[in-house]
């Protein structure tokens, strides 16, 4: 063998060796095996003492730089869609996808007709961390099964409605018939720590759309710590048995949208729709709505529509809706619990422009004839039963804490300057011949100038009841100091008209 041949041969072999070594440890090679771009880099420790990858985590921002030749592919929707659509990036068992490093904003909107998720019912479970800034949608998003999206906090991450989204269309759907498993329903779909913005651009009017809609996601599915900014349609829409056992939906701050919106302080949409609502629950038995503040201009007929059974609504506050919660407005409602709800007129901050409220809770009577200017509607066979209300409060003078159309009862603040009025408890049971089983602690006349009381209650004292001033007909009064010889222990309010009085019974 000549020297020349030996050098050439050795060069060839060395080159091949280098090639093989480089190839065997290159990212591309690793990617082809088990790693993917964006995997967390972790330290292996001794004895190798090197950096390797963790498939539990994928930083999607690295894919923003994959397309150096096509800037149009650098938007968050396209990148996430690529991550989900490309085999080998997300392990079958799922991963955290960190998109917080992807640039967003008006200069980098989602590409036309592109959602972060391809339509599939077999995507792996993922948790997606969204970046701060405004994410301009181009089409509605449908969250797949076992998918959670988490923003950088209220107003930090804002998902902005596309200007062309059709009226009544949801911006985000929690599952769908084509993305949920074959059983028909999704689980574990979550949305938290972000803003849903119903105003397409900073200078435009809000759109009549739905912020988030759940018709297909059940256990483990929720919305929490979410602000809804100027959604003119329904901020959160939970409908049908497909949403059964979802929730709880916690810590929500929906503000109603409309037209004639102003962007300088105070910011609000002065022309709002009567059909706008913060939350709608229709024929779904959920784990409830726990904690919300619903604000509007005073025009929307109701903040929350509760047309379903077996839900809890607690720790809520309303400003600027006619009815805070309308129960049974469009469908029957039974077995619901509503706790600690307040209504008040807006005010207090320089940005506050919320309107007044009339009824904190309005119990509809489907058999009653309603006009078209009311949250309640008339429909055959409907009813509201087994409803427990506790600590329902109106902080607006002369307005109503509870308006019960089933028993024609109104619990009204007795004076315009009152700091508030409400009921410690108001339980509406079920209809019996001639009435309803019912228990209330409310004990105020209907108005400051009236001598009629709206609801019978049970009074207690260690003395006899007043002999004048009226009382709620049918009420009971117990005197713990009643004597054996006298008829001064139990009293019943009788009479009616303008001069009901306590009559000794036993």
């Amino acid at each position: 063998m000549s020297i020349d041949r030996t050098i050439a041969t050795r060069t060839f072999l060395a080159a091949m060796a280098v090639f093989l070594v480089v190839f065997s440890v290159s990212p591309g090679r690793l990617q082809a095996q088990t790693a993917a771009w964006g995997n967390n880099a972790v330290y292996t420790g001794t004895p190798t003492a090197s950096v390797t990858f963790s498939t539990a985590y994928i930083d999607a921002s690295v894919f923003a730089f994959k397309y150096t030749g096509g800037a149009s592919k650098n938007d968050i929707c396209t990148i996430l869609n690529y991550v989900y659509s490309t085999s080998g990036i997300i392990p079958p068992a799922g991963a955290v996808i960190d998109a917080r490093g992807i640039p967003v904003g008006s200069s980098n909107p989602c590409a036309a007709s592109t959602s972060p998720w391809p339509t599939s019912s077999t995507l792996p479970p993922t948790t997606v961390l969204l970046p701060p800034g405004a994410i301009f949608m181009s089409t509605a998003w449908v969250l797949p099964n076992q998918t959670r999206i988490i923003g950088a906090g209220r107003t930090n991450t804002a998902i902005v409605v596309p200007a062309a989204l059709a009226t009544g269309t949801p911006m985000i759907q929690m599952g769908s018939s084509s993305t949920c498993p074959s059983g028909g329903y999704c689980t574990g779909v979550g949305i938290s720590d972000l803003e849903i913005n119903g105003q397409p651009t900073a200078t435009s009017n809000a759109l009549d759309v739905i912020g988030i809609q759940n018709e297909y996601s059940q256990d483990g599915s929720y919305v929490s710590h979410v602000t809804f900014h100027w959604v003119e349609g329904i901020a959160l829409d939970i409908e049908t048995s497909g949403a059964n056992n979802s929730g709880p939906y916690t810590d929500l701050t929906p503000s109603a949208g409309g037209t004639s919106c102003t962007v300088t302080s105070p910011t609000y949409c002065s022309a709002q729709s009567t059909s706008t609502a913060c939350i709608k629950i229709v024929n779904a038995q959920t784990k409830g709505i726990h904690g919300f503040t619903c604000t509007a201009s005073g025009v929307p007929y109701a903040g929350v529509y509760l047309d379903a059974n077996s839900n809890t609504i607690e720790d809520g506050h309303f400003e600027g809706v006619v009815d805070g919660i309308a129960v049974g407005a469009h469908d029957s409602a039974a077995g619901n619990v509503i706790l600690n709800i307040t209504g008040a007129i807006g005010g207090g901050g320089s940005d506050s422009s919320s309107g007044p409220i009339v009824n904190t809770v309005h119990i509809c009577n489907p058999a009653k004839t309603y006009g078209t200017t009311n949250a309640c509607t008339t429909f055959a066979g409907g009813s509201v039963t087994d409803l427990t209300l506790s600590e329902i409060q109106s902080y607006t003078g002369a307005e109503y804490a509870i308006l019960d159309d089933e028993t024609v009862t109104s619990l009204q603040s007795i004076s315009a300057y009152s700091v508030g009025i409400g009921a410690g408890i108001y339980v509406l049971g079920e209809p019996t011949a001639g009435g309803y089983s019912r228990l209330s602690t409310f004990n105020q006349p209907s108005t400051s100038s009236s001598t009629t009381w709206p609801v019978a209650t049970w009074g207690y004292a260690s003395t006899t009841p007043p002999t004048s001033g009226g009382c709620a007909v049918g009420s009971i009064f117990s005197n713990s100091s009643g004597t054996a010889s006298g008829t001064d222990t139990l009293y019943i309010c009788v009479g009616g008209g303008t001069s009901p009085t306590w009559k000794a019974y036993k």
């Binding site: 950096v51 930090n156 004990n443």
Partner: protein, 481 residues
């Protein structure tokens, strides 16, 4: 040159070209132009041309980003928070800072400067992760708008007031008072030095706040105070200890009603208040909710005093429309004091409240006041309360509006409604309780069980579901009639 030599040279160059071509077109090469990590960024797989990893902009590790810094923990956190262009919501991870870097703070990590008017400049929204260990601070911390402060867990991360603790936000204004506190949720506004206004989404999670029995101008300091943080603000999974004033103080801005309050904040969940040394003072409160404030509630709290039960009240409830649920009181003389200031507190809901005597006895679990100058509490719903105590004459519910001391160790329901009154004279209250010791409603199938029997609560009603022997009876002077 032989044909074989030509072939070998061809193989060499061909191999080299393949190798170079592969390297130049690989993902490694393609990523090279997009890499711009800064110190402390999380490294993720996805190569740059000269680096093995790619920097994630969503995260900054304080220990790496401030390696040249000489300051304490707070100074190093503040230096990161002051970074120009810091994205809102960035995770600022200080968990990697360990001794010998002192886990002490001479300043508030969330104050990153002073403006031309001398007012503090607060950090932009972020998520700050604190390290394990005890962090001593000489100054109160203000957690600003849309900021989360997260420890590694109660007892694992402790924020402790240092000796000589100072709080620049103490202020007595026309609308209220800002007390000295280890942590403020938002900055209390003063008419001149601080004008931050209302804040939202201020969150404190997974740590211990230790007041270390410190004072400011002879006033004992609070643990966590909220004068300004409203919707989406809360405290979760936090232990508050060695605080001799208020563990958790929920009030209004001291300067103006327009600058916010603790309204609609919460619920405050999974809180433990305890003393690890020394005796609490009579004015020590686990929670203090002041008049006219409307937080969403306290859901899950243990208020632990000491064996002397020297602390008078665990929870002062003078606000409105608040739920307190799943609470345990131990070692306080009184558990929940409703309407202590005489303000017309209303529309509060208390349920699953337990008094125990493991630490010290509880005399009254729930005290409803009637001694103030304003209206008495109304519309108070109490459900599922129980008291186990060694106190001599305890009241599970002590209702001064109706002069009722419910001594049953547990009570299913006690509803206090509104006054039965005329001409401004209150005769009684609408009320319902399931305690058989007070006027209640008993339902049975037949009156035979009560006929000729004595009864304990005058004014009680017995309804017979069969009507045998009479349908309705009343307890009159100790006998059923």
């Amino acid at each position: 040159m032989t044909a074989k030599a030509v072939l070998l040279r061809f193989l060499f160059f061909a191999t080299a070209m393949i190798l170079l071509g592969w390297i130049s077109t690989s993902p490694t090469r393609a990523l090279a132009q997009g890499c711009s990590p800064v110190a402390g960024n999380n490294l993720v797989y996805g190569n740059c041309s000269t680096q093995s990893s790619f920097g994630s902009q969503s995260y900054i590790d304080v220990s790496s980003a401030t390696t040249s810094a000489t300051g304490d923990l707070c100074a190093r956190i503040a230096s990161v928070l002051a970074t120009s262009g810091l994205k809102a919501g960035t995770v600022v991870d200080a968990r990697g800072i360990v001794p010998p870097t002192p886990l002490s703070c001479s300043s508030d990590p969330f104050i990153i400067g002073v403006n031309g008017s001398g007012q503090p400049i607060f950090a932009p929204p972020s998520v700050v992760l604190l390290p394990s260990g005890t962090i001593t601070t000489s100054s109160s911390w203000v957690v600003p708008d849309e900021t989360q402060l997260i420890g590694e867990g109660p007892g694992i991360t402790t924020l402790q007031a240092a000796s000589g603790f100072a709080d620049p936000f103490v202020y007595a204004g026309t609308n209220g008072t800002a007390n000295p506190a280890v942590i403020h949720m938002g900055a209390p506004n003063t008419s001149a030095t601080v004008t931050q206004g209302i804040v939202f989404a201020v969150r404190i999670l997974h740590l211990t706040v230790d007041g270390n029995r410190q004072t400011v101008s002879s006033t004992y300091i609070d643990g966590i105070d909220n004068n300004n943080a409203e919707e989406q603000s809360y405290v979760d999974d936090v232990t508050i200890q060695n605080v001799l004033a208020n563990g958790l103080y929920l009030s209004a801005d001291p300067d103006s009603t327009g600058d916010g309050a603790a309204d609609h904040s919460g619920p405050y969940t999974n809180i433990v208040f305890q003393q690890t040394s020394g005796l609490p003072k009579s004015a020590t409160n686990c929670v203090n909710i002041t008049a006219n404030v409307e937080p969403r509630g306290i859901h899950g709290i243990s208020c632990l005093g000491d064996s002397t039960s020297a602390a008078t009240y665990a929870i002062l409830l003078n606000g409105n429309s608040t739920t307190i649920e799943d609470a345990r009181i131990d070692g306080f003389n009184t558990g929940i004091y409703v309407g202590s200031t005489g303000d017309p507190t209303q529309a509060n809901l208390l349920f699953n409240i337990t008094g125990t005597d493991t630490v010290g006895s509880v005399t009254n679990l729930i005290n409803i006041d009637n001694t103030g100058t304003g209206s008495s509490p109304i519309n108070l719903a109490i459900s599922a309360v129980s008291l186990t105590t060694s106190a001599g004459t305890p009241c599970t519910i002590d209702d001064h509006t109706t002069s009722t001391c419910v001594t049953n160790s547990s009570v299913g329901m006690y509803l206090l409604g509104q006054p039965v009154s005329t001409s401004n004279i209150t005769y009684g209250y609408s009320r319902f309780t399931t305690s058989p010791n007070f006027a209640t409603w008993i339902v049975g199938s037949t009156s035979a069980s009560i006929t000729g029997k004595s009864c304990t609560a005058n004014g009680s009603i017995f309804s017979s579901t069969t009507g045998t022997g009479g349908s309705m009876w009343a307890c009159v002077a100790g006998a059923w009639k």
